[in-house]
């Protein structure tokens, strides 16, 4: 009886690990889609409203459903204090938040690279400079979506198989 219970727990553990992996994958995809939305909104704020980048981040922070809204508000507030330059504040604050996400390093870089494309005198040129980051983010989303289709089932099956295998070994 105990053996059977132990096997059940091993199976549940393996399946759980596989599901966590799938959840992280889904979370990564959602965050990347959020980054894409951020860039699209930034483009709008730059080219139509012509507001400064810190002000645009403040506007983005008003969307409470967004994962990055709190950090954008912190960046805006710290920038208003004027003790440090914007790129420094942006990188430091965002790095801290990105560590808590399942995003991979190169995916986090998509957001961290934003200040490096600033410095254009015309709003159209500045908005255009965001296109490269937007394109990269969209490409990454496409890749992940395809990966998700193929990998999700495989990971769950693998989890179950490993669970089964370990159970046989234990018995």
């Amino acid at each position: 009886m105990l053996k059977l219970a132990g096997c059940g727990m091993v199976m549940a553990g393996c399946l759980g690990t596989a599901l966590v992996w799938c959840r992280d994958f889904r979370q990564r995809l959602l965050l990347l889609k959020e980054i894409r939305t951020i860039y699209e909104d930034l483009k709008y704020y730059i080219s139509y409203q012509k507001i400064t980048v810190p002000d645009a981040l403040f506007k983005l922070s008003e969307n409470r459903n967004m994962f990055f809204s709190a950090v954008f508000l912190e960046i805006y507030e710290e920038q208003q204090e004027g003790r440090e330059e914007f790129p420094g504040i942006y990188a430091r604050r965002l790095r801290g938040v990105l560590l808590k996400t399942p995003l991979k390093k190169e995916e986090g870089r998509l957001l961290l690279a934003f200040p490096s494309c600033l410095g254009f005198m015309e709003e159209r040129a500045q908005a255009g400079a965001l296109d490269e980051l937007l394109r990269e983010t969209t490409q990454r989303i496409k890749l992940l979506e395809e990966e998700q289709k193929n990998k999700n089932k495989m990971v769950i099956s693998l989890g179950l198989a490993v669970g089964g295998f370990l159970s046989i070994l234990l018995i």
């Binding site: 012509k50 400064t52 980048v53 810190p54 004027g82 330059e85 254009f120 005198m121 015309e122």
Partner: protein, 332 residues
């Protein structure tokens, strides 16, 4: 925010230590002039000084801090919050106003559009930071000459550049708006084409211009006056540096609407005023007829600069009669 802090925020954080010493005398600091390959110069209480890399202020340029291209770019980015596109219009006009009402003038390579107008200034190589110093009470002595039976009379402040016209104008606006011993507070509309009067930053006046003052910031004078008349119903309209027939037509319309006018003009005499009023044409439709100052203004306040101080030289009435010939009242 203290003036010292406002000026310090112009510079990137790694440069700030150099500015601590000169900014201890922020109340005496008038200008900071910078150019690539040139020493950083300060105008402190009317005298030129040089800033060294270690942050020392001296009369000699031997140890001076020579600005590099990168430093200049970083200052510009910092001033614009890394959003230069948002300040495109201001940069095109050659200046931008920052928090505290301080103005940063810029010069560099100008890009023209197909009509020959300035499209932008690229490669900004020179900067002039003009520190804003409002003088509260500058108009105390003048105010009594500017009212008749509790009504603010149409007034023109006249002087050559740099004699304190805008400083006096700003304090007159404040006193009209807040109310003074000669009349209660009145609604004032200010057309601040170059953000010099109110020193607005993001549309918020940084200088004290009174609680009943509406500001049309960055707007051309003629359009601004008409917009204010239509939308804000001011009792007094204030503008800086009028001149030419277009401006006078707008002033005429303001007077027709029953508002009083307060303006400044470059010049030194009534003859100068007449010339400036009629520059660029004559009265609409009138062949050979000209605008006369007395058709518009009832008081002329002439100013001058002597020994580094700005003073009111004399105040004339509508017909040119002297109302005030003082022991030279000091404005700033």
């Amino acid at each position: 925010m203290a003036k010292q802090e406002e000026i310090l925020r112009i510079f990137p954080d790694y440069m700030r230590a150099r500015w601590e010493k000169p900014l201890q005398r922020a109340d005496k600091l008038q200008e900071i002039r910078m150019g690539i390959g040139q020493p950083v110069r300060l105008m402190l209480d009317g005298e030129e000084r040089f800033l060294s890399c270690r942050g020392c202020v001296s009369t000699s340029c031997q140890d001076a801090w020579y600005m590099t291209e990168r430093e200049m770019e970083e200052i510009l980015k910092n001033v614009c919050h890394y959003s230069m596109y948002a300040f495109e219009n201001e940069i095109r006009q050659g200046f931008l106003t920052i928090q505290g009402g301080h103005r940063i003038g810029m010069a560099g390579q100008v890009v023209l559009n197909e009509n020959g107008n300035v499209r932008n200034i690229t490669h900004i190589r020179f900067m002039n930071i003009r520190v804003s110093h409002e003088v509260i009470g500058a108009a105390d002595e003048v105010m009594r000459y500017l009212y008749e039976d509790g009504r603010f009379v149409n007034t023109l402040l006249v002087s050559p550049p740099g004699c304190g016209k805008t400083t006096l104008l700003r304090d007159i606006i404040r006193q009209i708006s807040e109310g003074n011993r000669y009349a209660g507070g009145k609604q004032v509309g200010v057309v601040d084409e170059r953000s010099e009067i109110a020193g607005s930053y993001k549309g918020i006046p940084q200088n004290r211009i009174g609680m009943r003052t509406d500001v049309m910031d960055g707007c051309p004078k003629v359009q601004g006056m008409m917009l204010l008349m239509r939308s804000m119903a001011p009792s007094v309209v204030a503008v800086d540096e009028i001149g030419g027939c277009e401006d006078m037509r707008a002033v005429y319309q303001v007077l027709q609407c029953g508002s009083s006018m307060l303006a400044t003009m470059h010049g030194n005499s009534l003859e100068d005023i007449r010339k400036h009023m009629n520059a660029g044409g004559t009265v609409a439709g009138g062949k050979g007829s000209f605008y006369e100052p007395e058709d518009f203004f009832e008081r002329y306040v002439f100013m001058e600069r002597k020994r580094g101080r700005c003073r009111v030289r004399e105040i004339l009435d509508k017909k040119g009669g002297r109302l005030y010939f003082p022991e030279r009242m000091r404005v700033c």
